[in-house]
Symmetry: C2
Subunit: 258 residues, 2 copies
């Protein structure tokens, strides 16, 4: 292994997510894609660093895409790739890359097949779902006909969560990434304010770890999940062991999180 390879192995791969859709900003639809993209990226060894939600507005999409794509290894988008007039993600991303929109021959073939036995067949509206920015590749969609699109480092997914999920599954192992974040969760039956100093002391004593505190109130009891994260499993384990010990000394009972 060359020194460069070793360096690369330690590199942190990052991604941003752009959620596109008036329905999220109006509150009509509760987003489900942020959590599922975040989870999936973690399994691929990529850290989700930033999310933006913008309306179905070309200027807003272009501006966000051109800010986010050079600042991260990967940019994922969800929403706006259907057949109707408010689906403007493809032309907006083509504009961001300054390339024309074309009909992708393989996407056309997939849609012809998908709509063969349906009334009207492949109409002009349905053919909109074969459009891609010139130079793009397809991302398979096992849930419905229309494929996702990969343009440079931008991965364009459907907004419907179960379709977005099958597109992510199709991308399993396709991204260059590092190790998934190591994470240990300790559930403590104490108010987080009772143990705040102790948490900070453990984190400070364990460089390279981060301890998040997520309070809950359930069945009449105050509690908190303490999540110890690190790029290295051994560091997360050591900090978690120290935290359990300090909590026990403080008389706080702990358990496993759900």
């Amino acid at each position: 292994m060359s020194p460069e390879d070793r360096l690369d192995e330690r590199r942190t791969w990052t991604a941003a997510l752009l959620v596109i859709g008036d329905e999220i900003l109006s509150g009509r639809t509760e987003d489900k894609n942020i959590a599922q993209v975040a989870h999936w990226l973690d399994t691929q060894g990529v850290r989700l660093r930033e999310v933006r939600v913008v309306p179905d507005d070309q200027a807003a999409i272009v501006s966000a895409v051109n800010w986010l794509r050079p600042n991260h290894d990967y940019l994922f988008t969800t929403g706006g790739i259907g057949p109707t007039h408010d689906d403007i993600t493809i032309e907006s991303i083509a504009a961001a890359f300054d390339v024309p929109v074309i009909i992708h021959p393989e996407a056309r073939r997939i849609l012809e097949e998908y709509y063969r036995d349906r009334p009207q067949g492949l109409t002009e509206a349905r053919l909109r779902m074969a459009r891609v920015p010139s130079g793009a590749e397809l991302i398979p969609n096992q849930a419905s006909g229309a494929p996702g699109v990969k343009m440079g480092n931008v991965y364009i997914l459907a907004g419907v969560p179960n379709i977005a999920r099958t597109m992510l599954e199709a991308l399993d192992g396709a991204l260059e990434g590092g190790q998934p974040m190591a994470s240990v969760t300790i559930r403590a039956f104490a108010a987080e304010s009772d143990v705040a100093d102790l948490l900070k002391a453990v984190q400070d004593a364990h460089p390279g770890t981060q301890i998040g505190s997520y309070p809950f109130y359930r069945s009449g009891m105050f509690g908190a999940d303490f999540v110890v994260r690190s790029d290295e499993g051994a560091k997360a384990d050591a900090a978690a062991a120290a935290l359990r010990e300090r909590l026990a000394e403080a008389g706080v009972s702990t358990g496993e999180a759900d």
Copy 2:
């Protein structure tokens, strides 16, 4: 009413939301605040135009706050105002405004009262929740002790959704705003790709309206909710009536959405 007042009445008031928290970006916690803030803003006559999610990182928070607050009438934030070391929203927003962090006397009094009969009383960790950027006001919290904070046009809310909700309720009617967006939803039992042309034609014939198409597949049937939105109720109603007529002509049955 002066001409200026009339002009003001037609003004569109906008807001951005900044969701702060590693737990959202890791996928550990599914965000519930975007939808509830969006809904609430709409009832106040304010349009949510943009959302960003950033980690518990001061540079990321400062950069997002200073980008968003001058570009919107209001900026809301959720998360990071608890008692533990990973709660850094207050110092980050103070840094964004370039003011010191102080203990707010009224917040201190509220917390003293809240923790009076609890073990340890108002500890140093708990007193962290009385910190505000110098010059800020408090937002009442009916759900737990620690108040929210208003700094300039920035409204700093808790991350726990039911606490954030009581803070929003405390702000009912406190924001200058316009009219809530008028919205009519038509549920159509057809694939959206079957009626895409017709949707676009109705929108084009009704300036000042927007028609969103949100497909669903339920109980073996394809369908879509068409949401007609406008700043003016009469325009939304007229476009919705035209859309119902065109759908009926096309043989598509429609109903009310849930």
